[in-house]
């Protein structure tokens, strides 16, 4: 019980509740089931991409290209759907994930085979992939009426009474919770983020694992890319631009160490919801949406500083307890 209160996830959850209550006090529309459903739907896209970012950060890297991958896959599948309106949705979604996989793999190659620091490699591909979007679209966009009904309606539809978006978030959560907690490959990710040398000593293939996290990040970004264009019913050249920073925010707010090796999937979920709540709250209490980027930057800094300070304090008290 005591442990539960000490955990960052718990305190973050409490902070979200307080925030929601405070906003609800000012704007009664905020605390309606409809609005919460919207927040969850909206956050589920962020959550899906953030899981990819989370995997990369766990290894000690970062993936700045996630939003560009989303933009490119979103545009690709929107065009695909525009040209073949009868293509089954499953194929579309699989195509999105496959395209994401290819782009993510390229990042993975740069980092693992060529030893390029992740920040530099993905800063480069952030531009490259975004440039591809324009090349692909010729500078135009795909609007709602050019999309086939199943393509466009999927995010609004529900499965067994639960919104499809939330279903997808739940599936992603479940799959990656199992992956990270119950498979060797998942534990390897924690291993190389925690101690690279030791991981090599026990036979973990560091290069392969590095490649894998970027490829997975690409697949998840691909999936999210489809969800984005379908949810907002438009595929623009700047779809999801800037979202990479929100994914970093979701992770660090969720207690993921920016140095790698530490973090939980529940933390990332709460981090994503936190960002979603803030975004929604701004519009509810009629604060200009322009605040969102500033708040996000502030939250990233605050979370990183707090994570660092708390961690260091814990270490210092441990040291004192040990000797003398």
């Amino acid at each position: 019980m005591k442990d539960l209160f000490k955990r960052r996830e718990t305190s973050l959850f409490v902070i979200i509740l307080i925030l929601a209550a405070a906003v609800g006090f000012r704007a009664h529309d905020f605390v309606t089931p409809g609005n919460f459903l919207f927040i969850f739907k909206d956050s589920s896209i962020l959550f899906v991409v953030s899981i990819g970012q989370f995997l990369v950060i766990l290894t000690g890297g970062i993936d700045l290209s996630v939003a560009s991958i989303m933009g490119f896959t979103g545009m690709s599948v929107a065009l695909l759907d525009k040209v073949n309106p009868n293509m089954p949705l499953v194929v579309i979604i699989l195509a999105a994930m496959a395209i994401g996989f290819v782009l993510g793999s390229f990042n993975g190659l740069l980092v693992s085979a060529l030893n390029i620091p992740p920040i530099i490699a993905t800063l480069g591909t952030l531009s490259i992939y975004r440039g591809f979007v324009i090349v692909l679209s010729g500078g135009t966009w795909v609007s709602a009426d050019q999309m086939a009904a199943p393509f466009r309606d999927f995010p609004q539809a529900s499965f067994l009474g639960l919104s499809n978006m939330i279903c997808i978030a739940i599936v992603v959560f479940a799959v990656f919770a199992v992956f990270l907690h119950l498979t060797r490959k998942g534990r390897d990710i924690y291993g190389i983020g925690g101690n690279m040398l030791a991981s090599q000593y026990v036979g973990i293939d560091v290069k392969k694992t590095n490649f894998m996290v970027f490829a997975l990040s690409g697949i998840l970004s691909g999936l999210a890319g489809y969800l984005w264009v379908a949810f907002y019913a438009s595929a623009a050249n700047d779809s999801a631009a800037g979202l990479e920073l929100q994914t970093v925010a979701a992770c660090v707010v969720g207690g993921v160490s920016i140095l790698g090796g530490y973090g939980t999937i529940a933390g990332v979920l709460l981090g994503s919801i936190f960002i979603g709540v803030v975004k929604n709250a701004l519009s509810m209490i009629r604060i200009s949406p322009f605040w969102q980027v500033a708040i996000q930057g502030f939250v990233i800094l605050l979370a990183i500083v707090l994570n660092t300070v708390l961690d260091r304090r814990a270490q210092a008290s441990m040291l004192k307890r040990r000797v003398l």
Binding site: I120, A121, T125, G131, V293
Partner: protein, 354 residues
């Protein structure tokens, strides 16, 4: 070298032969470093040829000088970014810094400030934002990537909060000189001259002063440098503050050149600035890099982009080329180094072995 017994005579003689050896050694080392710069020169010549093939007016002197307007702001930002990267850090918030600084100048101008005040606002705000990065990084010992990802978002965010969907478009007439003017009586842009002066200053600082020596030392081994009595964090803080100052200067130039402050000002410029530095042969891991390389990188990337503009390649597609140039520029020395490393690896292992 033969065994050195003792006594001054032996060591004096050894000294001479050492000098000879050191000369050849230093020579080959210099060769190694200049290879990259020579490559940049060849590439620059190639870009010139292609550009003048595309446009017969390209090599016309006034046109050529005017074309530098397009990249001098980025060039100036690349100079202290070089310091930051040699220190082993990185700052991806520079473009957001530029935007926020421009917004402050816009506010000042809207409040009726004259040109000298605007300049002062630009320099102070830019430096302060850079200092804030450095302060967070050194005070809390947080990686610079993490901090500047945060301020990238924070600075741009504050700028857009202030701007909303508006823009500042009224600046004093005399303010236009900095980004649009020429040195009186010539056709040389002020921006170009300013860059040349600042580049010379940066080169002097890095290569000729004790400050520069310590910066290289920090980038190569922070711990040893700290153990050698250098206040490492102060140097890093200075590097980040200078980086902010340069963003402020660039903000003055750009705002003056386009005559307005709009929300999307300089978006994505951090990529160009970092690409320039890396293309100039500065090791992304810190500790290595020369001003000549970065200067060549500035003109190579600048004229390349100008050339792409000549054939009407849209800006965002140009980014594809930028991204690839960044990755290739990082990859190439790494691959070359791998080849060479094989030779020296064994030497280093010997040093490590007990």
């Amino acid at each position: 070298m033969t065994g050195q017994k003792s006594g001054t005579e032996t060591s004096a003689r050894a000294g001479t032969s050492r000098d000879g050896a050191s000369r050849t050694r230093a020579h080959s080392l210099r060769n190694l470093a200049t290879q990259w710069e020579m490559l940049l020169v060849y590439l620059l010549v190639a870009v010139f040829l292609v550009n003048s093939f595309i446009s017969p007016y390209f090599l016309n002197a006034p046109n050529l000088l005017d074309s530098t307007f397009n990249f001098m702001e980025k060039a100036i930002m690349a100079l202290p970014m070089m310091l930051v990267i040699i220190c082993g850090d990185i700052d991806i918030s520079v473009a957001s810094n530029l935007a926020l600084t421009s917004v402050f100048m816009g506010m000042a101008s809207a409040a009726g400030a004259h040109t000298p005040v605007l300049i002062l606002v630009g320099l102070v705000v830019g430096s302060a934002l850079g200092w804030f990065n450095g302060m967070l990084i050194t005070r809390f010992a947080i990686p610079s990537i993490a901090v500047t990802i945060g301020t990238l978002s924070l600075y741009r965010g504050i700028a857009s909060v202030i701007l909303g969907d508006g823009a500042y478009t009224v600046y004093p007439r005399s303010f236009a000189y900095f980004g649009q003017g020429y040195i009186p009586g010539t056709h040389v842009p002020f921006e170009l001259v300013l860059f040349a002066v600042l580049a010379a200053g940066t080169g002097f600082l890095l290569h000729k002063t004790s400050f520069g020596r310590r910066v290289y030392a920090i980038g190569n081994n922070q711990t040893t440098t700290r153990f050698s009595g250098v206040n490492v964090d102060r140097y890093r803080l200075i590097a980040f503050t200078l980086n902010g100052l340069a963003a402020g200067i660039a903000s003055i130039l750009l705002t003056s050149r386009v005559g307005s402050t709009r929300p999307n000002i300089a978006t994505g410029w951090e990529l160009d600035v970092i690409t320039t530095v890396v293309l100039g042969g500065v090791a992304i891991t810190g500790g290595r890099g020369k001003i000549w390389g970065v200067a060549l990188g500035v003109f190579l990337l600048g004229f390349l982009q100008f050339g792409m503009g000549l054939v009407n390649i849209p800006g965002q597609v140009m980014n594809i080329a930028d991204g690839f140039i960044l990755i290739i520029a990082i990859m190439a020395p790494e691959l070359i180094r791998r080849g060479r490393a094989k030779a020296s690896l064994s030497a280093r292992r010997a040093a490590k072995a007990p």
